[in-house]
């Protein structure tokens, strides 16, 4: 887009003045109708968002207490006075962190290949892109089935057979399998975000580095990646915020209805905040009595997703500052 506007070419004294002509536009019913309709649609969507958030904050605030977030509940977690959500907070946090450890390296390396090495028109590149796009559209429940069929029934069972475990250690729902399933699910998010940030780096930087005698790998590791770090963090944020609230993929791969203690190993099943919201709202013997803890749990889930986001945003801001100082 060039910045030359049409007004520059107009003669100085046009009659009548152009601006007045536009302002004096008559009241037009269709214009009003169209503005109103699309504006209302926008307003309605924002209204829905505000209603959901306000409803949860107002009803959930009263149920929050230090006791609530730091207690491991007894088996009967529907009781308002003794219940807590500590194991769920721990479970959700760990599964998201373990997922990040797997998805970030794979996603970033794939993005590096796509932007730095691959020829854009080659068949392999196009197939990789198509695969990434498709992966992004696979329903979350299908990821759950995949986790059960592949990670638990195939990888896990074969590992048990290999190590001659008399009882199922790996071949059962576990934290590690849930995290891996989520890592597969969020891979496209990381790839796309990283790719965007890599593309935004001016080619001149790479050329300068190569001209100074650095190899391609050195250029990528020391010039390109540090520059792309904020973008990679963004990908991480998006992946984490998507994964933290997902329930369908972990239904069969690791989420437990009840655990008496916190998960100690990666092979333990775990309690999960999102799954707990599902359990509380559908299996409660008395929904009216459970309502306060239900709202409080939902609020904790929302706060956790926002908190994880916030941490990532702060890291990102710091990295940016550091980069600016270096540059």
């Amino acid at each position: 887009m060039n910045s030359v506007t049409s007004s520059q070419y107009l003669p100085e004294s046009t009659e009548p003045p152009l601006t007045r002509h536009f302002r004096a536009e008559k009241f037009d019913f269709w214009s009003f109708f169209f503005f109103g309709l699309t504006g209302l649609a926008t307003l309605f969507i924002l209204g829905i968002l505000a209603t959901i958030l306000l409803n949860i904050i107002i009803n959930g605030w009263g149920g929050l207490s230090w006791h609530f977030v730091s207690t491991i509940p007894k088996k009967d977690f529907f009781d308002v006075h003794t219940t807590g959500v500590l194991p769920m907070i721990v479970g959700t946090t760990i599964r998201v962190i373990v997922m990040t450890l797997f998805v970030i390296p794979v996603g970033v390396i794939t993005a590096i290949y796509l932007t730095e090495y691959a020829a854009n028109t080659s068949l392999v590149t196009r197939i990789i892109r198509a695969a990434v796009n498709n992966l992004a559209g696979v329903p979350s429940i299908v990821f759950g089935l995949f986790g059960l069929g592949f990670f638990i029934n195939f990888v896990g069972k074969n590992m048990d057979a290999l190590f001659h475990n008399p009882t199922a250690v790996w071949g059962q729902p576990a934290l590690i399998w849930a995290s891996l399933t989520l890592a597969v699910m969020t891979m496209p998010v990381v790839i796309v975000a990283t790719e965007e940030s890599l593309k935004a780096i001016p080619p001149g930087l790479r050329e300068a580095s190569l001209a100074l005698g650095a190899t391609k790998l050195e250029t990528i590791l020391k010039i390109v990646l540090p520059q792309a770090l904020p973008g990679i963090m963004t990908g991480g944020i998006l992946a984490v915020s998507r994964a933290a609230g997902e329930v369908a993929p972990i239904l069969f791969t690791g989420a437990a209805y009840y655990m008496a203690s916190l998960p100690a190993h990666l092979t333990d099943p775990f309690m999960d905040l999102g799954y707990h919201v599902f359990v509380l709202s559908t299996q409660s013997p008395n929904i009216e009595q459970t309502r306060p803890i239900l709202y409080a749990t939902v609020l904790v889930l929302l706060m956790l997703t926002f908190a994880l986001n916030l941490v990532a945003i702060i890291i990102r801001a710091r990295v940016r500052k550091k980069l600016r100082a270096l540059g």
């Binding site: 169209f34 959901i52 390396i109 695969a131 089935l145 999102g274």
Partner: protein
């Protein structure tokens, strides 16, 4: 990037490049693995190897050698892996247990014609069947009980019903908002409105489901006065909330990518802002908006938790105020109770494969249309 190595490749460099290439293939590998392992568990259904008939021609332990492994696996409802681990003695034990079980079936069940049917055959999966004690042929999904009925048509109808309600609700709203935000709103508003609407996608679907179950269901019932409190209508609207941000982002992107000179030309010719938006920008961006709806469909058809929480009874009905059970819901709700390797388990995996195929196709269409649209716009510029 147009930059090539200008000097001799070192071994380390070469290795790193190959390693990076191999890792980048993992996306392809994952798509293949997903398809392979979901379909693998469903294979016996496709090949007609599962048998749920209650009364079967018994295979006597003595005649073990006369039957093929596939026959035995289907008869005993075990996986090939399990079969491979078994000794002939164990198989004979299992066969005799099965024969005993057959002998224990009460006499009135033996006379029931349904007890001789293998309900996993395609004809029972897809066509209505007049079950014993029913007045007319019906579509029934009833995976528990003595005679398990696996007709998947009610689930497909339920999925389509909920999805269509969701899209009818979400598409006009999301596209309207996209037009407003991209064409009509002041730039200062746009900077606030866009991230605010996209914030909706940050709300986990289990939270939307919870909200629909506790708050929306009651509000909608008092507005529309229908009988069943939790029905396909509530689920559809809640589903709409989940797909609005998806459709909005893609449609907004398509509308914004229409070249500025289209708009400028229209305004210069004296068209008002709404005429420009409605008659110039929207038609130009129509393929993108269509793609947004298709991708929204893919997202809606695969949404699990919302429909699972809001309605669950599998009723064969097109009425929007009846309950409905979607494919995703069925998988999520019944997988825990399905016996691993049994017919029910395999049919659930088959439904998963079906879902995978449906979203695969809708994503392909959506991506293809967007690709063509972008190319067309670039070509015209």
């Amino acid at each position: 990037m147009g930059i090539h190595r200008g000097h001799q490749a070192r071994t380390g460099e070469w290795l790193a490049e190959k390693f990076i290439f191999l890792v980048s293939l993992s996306a392809i590998l994952m798509v293949l693995l997903i398809f392979l392992f979901v379909a693998r568990e469903a294979l016996p259904i496709f090949f007609g190897q599962a048998n749920t008939a209650l009364v079967q021609k018994p295979i006597l332990p003595e005649t073990l050698d006369q039957h093929s492994p596939a026959e035995l696996q289907a008869y005993l409802e075990i996986t090939p892996d399990e079969y491979a681990k078994m000794t002939p003695a164990m198989l004979r034990d299992l066969l005799s247990v099965k024969v005993d079980a057959q002998n224990d079936i009460p006499e009135d069940f033996r006379n029931d014609p349904d007890a001789h049917i293998n309900t996993t055959e395609w004809q029972y999966l897809l066509q209505p069947h007049r079950w014993n004690d029913y007045a007319k042929p019906e579509y029934i999904w009833q995976p528990v009980g003595q005679i398990k009925k696996f007709n998947i048509i009610p689930l497909i109808v339920g999925t389509l019903k909920v999805t269509l309600i969701g899209l009818l609700f979400a598409v006009p709203l999301a596209v309207g908002a996209a037009i407003y935000v991209s064409q009509l709103a002041r730039p200062r508003f746009r900077e606030i409105l866009k991230p605010a609407i996209e914030l909706l996608s940050g709300i986990p679907s289990v939270v939307v489901g919870f909200f629909a179950l506790l708050v929306m269901a009651t509000v909608l019932q008092s507005l529309f006065h229908y009988q069943v409190r939790l029905n396909a209508f509530v689920a559809g609207i809640a589903l709409g909330f989940a797909v609005i941000p998806v459709i909005f982002s893609i449609a907004e992107d398509a509308l914004t990518s229409v070249p500025r000179n289209y708009t400028q030309a229209a305004l210069a010719l004296g068209a008002s802002r709404w005429q420009t938006a409605w008659q110039i920008v929207l038609p130009a961006a129509l393929p993108g908006v269509f793609a947004a709806a298709v991708l929204g469909f893919g997202r809606a058809i695969g949404e699990t938790m919302i429909v699972l929480m809001v309605c669950s009874a599998s009723v064969m009905s097109w009425s929007i105020f009846d309950s409905a059970r979607s494919i995703t819901t069925t998988i999520a709700a019944e997988m825990a109770e399905a016996v691993s390797g049994g017919a029910h388990y395999r049919i659930l995996f088959m439904l998963g494969a079906l879902l995978f195929a449906a979203t695969f196709v809708s994503n392909m269409i959506g991506d293809f249309v967007i690709h063509r649209f972008k190319q067309k716009l670039e070509g015209k510029r």
